[in-house]
């Protein structure tokens, strides 16, 4: 049962996020335009895979974001479970559709890259399988919010799923080291530094950062919307009680 005092805090969030949004949005726009321009027109072809390497610039950022968003969602879920902060709950819920979209993109662009490079669009190796699992966990998480009517019960169930599912994240990341995978090993996040051609870094890095600020922008919009939805619901309950 929601009571109106919960909305004293969200008013501050609504104000802060409205101030932040134009800046984050503008930064996102700049980074994405610059990144895509670098990716398609400036960055060099690869000596082995030629122009097909350009798929990397949309595949890698999507994959990173699928994982980063899940990590944020799990972190927010922990805060929601332990401290019952309503904003944490909302942040987790609103992150999920964004994360599932990025993970889906990672899978789709990966398939489009795999077909010409490996001769197959899918193998059940550790990396691809664990990312597909991530995709299904996201769907399950969203499904819990959609099907459980009581908000606090939905929040609790979803938070538990998010936390249990987070064990998949290190599995995804280390899958290419722990198992014999068709998917290539890490070429960016390595202890001895990136092994990638430096001409590819501007496109890759600006799109990774741009996708991250994009996530923040979309998340803020969706959280604002969710806060308004809950406020409307509370007002309607108040009205029907008068």
């Amino acid at each position: 049962m929601s009571n109106l005092h919960q909305f004293a805090n969200p008013t501050r969030f609504l104000k802060m996020s409205s101030t932040l949004l134009p800046w984050v949005g503008a930064l996102t726009g700049f980074l994405l335009v610059y990144g895509f321009w670098q990716a398609l027109f400036v960055s060099p072809p690869d000596y082995q895979m030629g122009e097909a390497v350009r798929i990397m610039y949309v595949h890698v950022p999507s994959a990173y974001m699928g994982m980063l968003v899940y990590g944020s969602m799990a972190f927010a879920s922990a805060i929601a479970l332990i401290w019952k902060h309503p904003l944490a709950d909302i942040a987790a819920k609103c992150s999920a559709p964004i994360g599932v979209a990025f993970t889906g993109l990672a899978l789709a662009t990966g398939m489009l890259w795999g077909q010409p490079m490996w001769g197959t669009f899918w193998v059940w190796d550790a990396r691809l399988t664990s990312v597909l699992l991530l995709f299904f966990i996201y769907l399950g998480y969203i499904g819990l919010w959609l099907t459980i009517e009581d908000t606090s019960r939905a929040s609790r169930a979803a938070a538990i799923l998010a936390l249990v599912g987070s064990v998949n994240l290190p599995i995804i990341h280390y899958s290419v080291e722990w198992w014999n995978t068709l998917h290539q090993p890490a070429s960016l996040l390595r202890l001895d530094g990136p092994t990638i051609d430096p001409g590819m870094l501007p496109a890759l890095l600006s799109l990774i950062v741009g996708y991250t600020t994009f996530y923040i922008t979309i998340l803020l919009w969706r959280m604002q919307k969710e806060l308004i939805v809950r406020k409307i619901r509370a007002l309607q309950i108040l009205r029907s009680n008068q």
Partner: protein, 70 residues
């Protein structure tokens, strides 16, 4: 014109590179439109509700009796 044809063919990988980019940019656009549109719709709903039910801020100063069930 030749340059453009060469660029568009992506070294023969056009049917893999272009769908990747179109899909990615399409999904990014969809996220923007659905999120922003959703926000605008809910804001409009809230404005409508608040317009029809102006909140009484100082109930203690109001001369109207507060409805009770006794």
């Amino acid at each position: 014109m030749d340059n453009f044809a060469e660029f568009f063919s992506m070294g023969g990988y056009a049917s893999f590179v272009w769908p990747s980019y179109i899909l990615s940019i399409g999904v990014l656009f969809w996220l923007v439109i659905s999120s922003f549109n959703g926000l605008l719709q809910e804001k409009a709903k809230l404005d409508e509700i608040e317009k029809n039910n102006p909140r009484v801020r100082n109930i203690s100063k109001s001369s109207k009796p507060i409805p009770h069930d006794t």
